[in-house]
Amino acid sequence: MEKSIESIWKEGFVNDDKLIAPKVNDLYNQKSIDLVSKFKKMYKINVIGIVVFSFIIVPVSYLVKIPYMGIMMFFLFNLIIIVNRKTIYKLNKIDNTLNSYEYLISFKNWTDKLIDTNTKFSRFLYPYMFLTMFFGFWCGEIGGDVPGDIITNGFINEYPHTPLVFGFPLVFVGIMLLAMIFLAVVGAKIGKWDFNLGYGRIMRRLKTMIKDMEELKK
């Protein structure tokens, strides 16, 4: 007679002691690998995005007649790419034969350095971007006219005694300098905010995992 599923179950598990539980160790092995791979993937996609954008912006800036902006942006993006290539190289150097905890700590140290570099770099990046956009607009072309010339001439007509610095009204230079100083001061915060926007979730997971692992070790 065919056995019922209940009896198959009972007889199969007549002795529950035979069920051997796997050893609970290295819980975070796969999790750590997944987390770091996800970060690497996102980071590489970002760098590729910058490469593509840096090459697109040059012809586009010529088409919309703001070539100075395109060229300056091209140099800026390529500088970012060079810095990032160096950081990726260091990331790939992290020894994946370490145990999960040490691996994550090495990764965390690497991200801390990356955030530190980004923060320093942002102090220069945002003022430079502002300058680039300003010059792009100032030296560009609208309907055959150069906006910078129109504004300067209009300003000189209105205030004939205004002093000029390299052809720019002194007031404009002052405003630009103030704006750049402001961006240099808040640049670090913008950089951190920008980093968190992209990688914040992964960073929070990383911190939680390290905290859990430290607690597990106790």
Binding site: I8, E11, V24, Q30
Partner: protein, 163 residues
């Protein structure tokens, strides 16, 4: 996770955890991952245990939830894999128990939907329908009807020696 917590609070229930994890995995590697993940989730969620139910019931519920989440994650990952790899993965079957009939029953159980697997596992563990209904989050009557249908499906699969 302290050894004490594992020994006193998880190990006595490792039997049911193993049985449930086996029902949701095809390979030994996956099984070990699921088991470890369940243990970790129990440890991490232990402070949320409010003693409104028995510790064992809470462990069943957590184990099932954890397995269902992992199955869902795995399905999502498979969708991003090349099709030939996916077929190879699904085709793997492991004989995990000494008893051949039990291996066959597990193969049949793995053919059921995720929720039906949970229901039949709890039923086979002789949990009352009220408890199963509470864990699954449905009515007792619904559980009774579903158990009959699941048993019929399993019987068909076993009679046809699984297809």
């Amino acid at each position: 996770m302290s050894n004490d917590f594992y020994t006193n609070s998880i190990l006595p229930h490792s039997g049911i955890i193993i049985k449930i994890c086996r029902a949701y995995t095809d390979t030994q590697e996956d099984f070990e991952d699921y088991y470890q993940e369940v243990c970790l989730q129990i440890w991490k969620s232990k402070d949320r245990f409010r003693e409104e139910s028995k510790w064992s019931t809470w462990v069943y519920r957590l184990t099932l939830n954890c397995c269902l989440t992992l199955v869902k994650k795995k399905k999502n990952n498979r969708q991003n894999m090349p099709s030939d790899f996916e077929q190879k993965e699904i085709g793997v079957e492991t004989k995990t128990f000494e008893d051949e009939s039990l291996n066959l029953l597990y193969t049949a159980i793995r053919k059921l939907s995720e929720i039906d697997r949970a229901i039949i596992l709890l039923y086979l563990e002789e949990k009352p329908n009220e408890v199963i209904a509470d864990i699954i989050g449905t009515s007792k009557n619904n559980i009774s009807v579903r158990i009959i249908r699941i048993k019929e499906r399993l019987k068909k699969l076993l009679d046809g020696k699984i297809n």
